[in-house]
């Protein structure tokens, strides 16, 4: 899975990071930070492998 331009997106209510905006295989996506979500699982895997970095939220 090719993941590019990853950036955290803040929850407007809690102020915490709640999702990740990125481009996956050329498709613009907003990925919830939920352990059951397939794309989030892959993001974590690539983060752990050091092959992906995520920009901080605005």
């Amino acid at each position: 899975m090719k993941i590019e331009n990853a950036k955290y997106h803040k929850d407007l209510i809690s102020g915490k990071n709640g999702s990740i905006n990125c481009v996956i295989n050329g498709q613009h996506c907003s990925v919830p930070m939920n352990e059951e979500n397939t794309e989030y699982q892959e993001i974590k895997k690539q983060l752990d492998a050091g092959t992906l970095t995520i920009e901080e939220a605005d």
Binding site: D11, H28, C29, P32, T38
Partner: protein, 379 residues
């Protein structure tokens, strides 16, 4: 008046005569993402629902949903659509580690009646219609995804070029699939997969026909065609039915609403009209730039989904009575981590200062744009 109680007939197999087919959208009728030819990215879903596409080779291919002619419908047991694969870049020299295949994943909790991991593990029978310009014997495979990974390749022969042919294969249970390590956990993860090889390197063609084996080397026997050997090549498939037992029963034609609803557990696409400002819902402005709305999923999805958009902020707009219409400055996003498989909170983002905090807002697709929100919870 006398009434007679009629008992329903006992039907062996996958839980009765209804929903005996483990394959969802086996008739390729549903294509929520796209119907036209779309280039394949490795590990992605791009056209017909429930088909995951892999390509790690020097070749390339597109997939599309194609409608069958009345003549073809008559020769395919009434199938109306097929998955259409066209080679667009040839790879005539396949590396040992290269592969390309199409793959249908069945959710684990729909596989419990297969009783894998026990001495009662069942035999499986797969039927499908196939058509290609290439002829010869080639391979697909069934894979068990959960716990210990196993595969069973199945050979089939395309006898005549460019002709729809029906194929039936039965994969018997064996000691590998009966072993306790082959259990499929009863959850919403992947249970089994059905694959059709388009190109396969020597690292993966070490299987024995119709035989379950562990490891990752048995996706085929050595009888495997290279459908990406020439840009003249094509491969069409439809009418897939995988069922319990040793016989292929009649294909289960489901009503379109039922088939779509089954697909929507894994993908839900909401489209604006494309000709006017279509609505994605209403909500309230959280501040002077962001509007929040709730989106409900029907049916509940497999997991909390990922949101896909067009990727162009101006394709989306927000409207309220006092500030009027504003094109979005950023593409819509999931807001917060409180979403579930039945609801999620979305944020539409206008330019800073464009909105009035606290007012109600409608979220829209922009005028004349085929904007969409697509929620993806595929395996």
């Amino acid at each position: 008046m006398t009434q007679t109680k009629v008992e329903a007939p006992f039907v062996e197999g996958g839980g009765g005569s209804s929903f005996k087919n483990l394959v969802i959208n086996g008739g390729q009728k549903i294509a929520q993402r796209a119907t036209a030819a779309t280039a394949v990215s490795n590990g992605s879903y791009q056209t017909v629902d429930r088909w995951k596409l892999y390509n790690v080779s020097d070749g390339a291919y597109t997939t599309a949903q194609t409608a069958l002619s009345l003549t073809d419908q008559a020769t395919t047991d009434g199938q109306t659509h097929a998955l259409d694969i066209q080679c667009t870049t040839a790879d005539g020299s396949v590396g040992a580690g290269q592969y390309a295949f199409i793959y249908h994943l069945v959710e684990a909790q729909n596989c419990q009646h297969l009783k894998f991991g026990t001495s009662s593990a069942v035999d499986l029978t797969l039927q499908f219609y196939v058509k290609s310009n290439l002829t010869g014997t080639t391979c697909g495979f069934i894979a068990k995804e959960d716990s210990t990974y196993c595969q069973a390749p199945f050979e089939f022969t395309i006898n005549s070029a460019n002709t729809w042919e029906k194929k039936v294969v039965t994969i018997p249970a064996n000691a590998v699939i009966q072993a306790s390590s082959s259990i499929i956990n009863n959850d919403n993860g992947a249970g089994i997969g059905i694959g059709f090889n388009l190109l396969l390197g020597g690292n993966f063609d070490n299987g024995t026909n119709l035989t379950w084996e562990t490891g990752g080397a048995s996706y085929a026997t050595t009888n495997v065609l290279n459908f990406l050997s020439s840009t003249d090549n094509d491969f069409f498939i439809t009418g897939l039915q995988l069922e319990v037992g040793n016989d292929a029963s009649d294909f289960e034609h489901l009503p379109i609403d039922v088939e779509l609803q089954r697909c929507r557990r894994y993908l839900q696409r909401v489209e604006a009209s494309g000709t006017d400002y279509g609505s994605f819902g209403s909500g309230a402005n959280a501040n002077t730039a962001s509007s929040l709305t709730q989106h409900l999923f029907s049916p509940p999805m497999r997991t909390v989904p990922t949101l896909h958009t067009t990727g162009t902020a101006a394709n989306y707009s927000v409207f309220n009575g006092s500030t009027g219409l504003d094109a979005c400055a950023s593409i819509p996003a999931i807001n917060g981590n409180g979403g579930t498989n039945s609801q999620i909170r979305l944020e539409f983002i206008a330019a800073s200062g464009a909105l009035t905090a606290g007012q109600s807002t409608e979220m829209l697709g922009s005028d004349g744009v085929a904007a969409y929100l697509m929620f993806h919870a595929e395996l």
